[in-house]
Symmetry: C2
Subunit: 393 residues, 2 copies
Amino acid sequence: MSPIRPDLPSSSTRDSFGPPSTEDEGLVVTYLLKGDPADCARRARLLSIEQTAEVSPGLCAGEFFEKHVLGRVESVVPAGPDRCEVVVRFPADVVGTEFAQLFSVVFGNVSLWEGVRVASVRPTAALAARIGGPRFGIAGVRTRLGVPERPLLMSAVKPLGRSPSELAAYAYDLARGGIDLVKDDHGITDQVFAPFEARVEAVSAAVARANRETGRRCLYCPTVTGPADVLVDRARFARDAGAGAVLLSPLVVGPDFLRVVAREADLPVVAHPALAGAFFAHDDHGIALPALLGTLMRLAGADLVVFPGWGGRFPFTREGCAAVDRALKDDLGGVRPAFPVPAGGLSLSHVPELLGVFGRDVVFLIGSALYERSPDLAANAAYFLSLVEARPD
Amino acid sequence: MSPIRPDLPSSSTRDSFGPPSTEDEGLVVTYLLKGDPADCARRARLLSIEQTAEVSPGLCAGEFFEKHVLGRVESVVPAGPDRCEVVVRFPADVVGTEFAQLFSVVFGNVSLWEGVRVASVRPTAALAARIGGPRFGIAGVRTRLGVPERPLLMSAVKPLGRSPSELAAYAYDLARGGIDLVKDDHGITDQVFAPFEARVEAVSAAVARANRETGRRCLYCPTVTGPADVLVDRARFARDAGAGAVLLSPLVVGPDFLRVVAREADLPVVAHPALAGAFFAHDDHGIALPALLGTLMRLAGADLVVFPGWGGRFPFTREGCAAVDRALKDDLGGVRPAFPVPAGGLSLSHVPELLGVFGRDVVFLIGSALYERSPDLAANAAYFLSLVEARPD
């Protein structure tokens, strides 16, 4: 018969793997739970089990589980009608060293509950160091570009349907006009219109030609979103072809590919927010915008994070965007800050207002509006550049 | 100057990559959009651009885009107050051959809109064949187990915090009692309590010993959720150690790992629903439960899909579970059917009712309740087995 009694003194039957010796306090997650304080306190306790031991409370009783396995409910504070803010501290050894498990601990099973909202995620410095964060970050991207101070400009070669030579022609004009980062649209992957290798070679060459002419160092960021067994090879191919960064959709392919691609290709990675809206569409469930596209994507290794700016075609607010900005740049246990990349139908006239929120460490991503300003795409890009170069401070 | 005029006759400037020649009609997605019919028709048109060309309408005008790139809005039908059912057909060449891009086309950017719900996803047979689906499916899993007809039983070694030898002891008892599939908890990954390799070797050996004694073929399914550059190696290690399947969380690590792991380890894959609740928590946005955990996980390659049954600790309904069951088994262009694995705090007394919904092709996953029935875990497992073996038909 197996030792399934909950009161089993685990230490006496443990092998050499435990109990863990670390004093690391782990991961602090702030949740907003639906319910009155008594109900929230009860649910918080169940959440702290659901995200760790994942058994009936009777099967994880005792000091060992309380100390080393279960989340610890640190506070339950009313936060509006029928809602409480709940702080849970998860042991570092439950999170381990891998982003996937961290993501699961934060929201894996309780995503299937009702009324659970992740408001913020704070690892200790030791845990953050194990998870990693951006390989390049704001400073590393600026070094590659040779642009130490001003806001950066990003645009996209698009739309899907164009051929490699058409996309390359756009890229050439964008780079020639002064765009710092020219990315593929996230939906331009490896379709028949512009297959991955042909496209990456053509666009890389076009950007290199523009760079030779301008003396700038525009970085081409091809989309490497693709099969799990091919994605890293695409990033390496892109590097060898001359790409200066890569773009992928972490929630489509798995966020840990940010880290792996940055390391294997030695290139900065741009995170695209595809699917992200599923997490923050409602105030009472999911993961808040700054926690998901700020803290979590940064911990996972994004050097630049694309998200919908306000005033474009997505329903986002100035306050939400400012919160993402803070989450990408604030003190996070030594993890490098990452660039916010507000996007999503922004117009050129919007740039001054955006500067007021994000300051200099921002990448403005403008696509369609740049193509539409005039038929001269290089001139449009140069105008875009003038908007940030002209800034007096 | 680049050819950025929307009325550009693309064919004259295209290189050898297009236009595509396939007659495949592609991917049909049914959305529920918020709004009155006129508003929904307008939003459906914008959605069909957002998910494909992703530019201002003026930049993707013309026959080429209409025919080959943009989604085609097939119908807009009122579906309740302030809501319409909208059917959009996406060209097969936009989806391509990769699951990641299919997932992006279905919900990538429009996840960032308000009031967009994916109700169903239907690929043509040709597209479904390119994406793949389960490598083993229901029939393949039954063959490996040598159990041709009756419902299957799954349980878990748990909780997190136990050592490899403790988990192995549970697995031995579960297998000896007649459990068909013994999985790790999804949160038992590679922590200090039971590191991956030591655990997988210990538990595999314990299950093998039980199998030698019983003559059965219980399959151990270790959790391989982990780093993107290590996950496939873990699955191969598991196979070499004697594991009979693997478990992973597709929405945590990327759904395409289902396909890659099944192929590289030649093992059936069990999909865990961690994070899935973010997608179907609200009726007016996201991806419906059967579309996500049924059709999409099946297309991605899951042989078995864990999801919360009704009557457990998650707020799910009998109707929702029946819809997942249908989505995993219905005609999907030749894609193999996959096993539904209702779970999440189910009790043994719940089994007869579950049988009424899922029929014989189901895997019942019961964890805590099996450990709690009596201190004799093997006897508890044997009792669980008697509940499905005793079934008269």
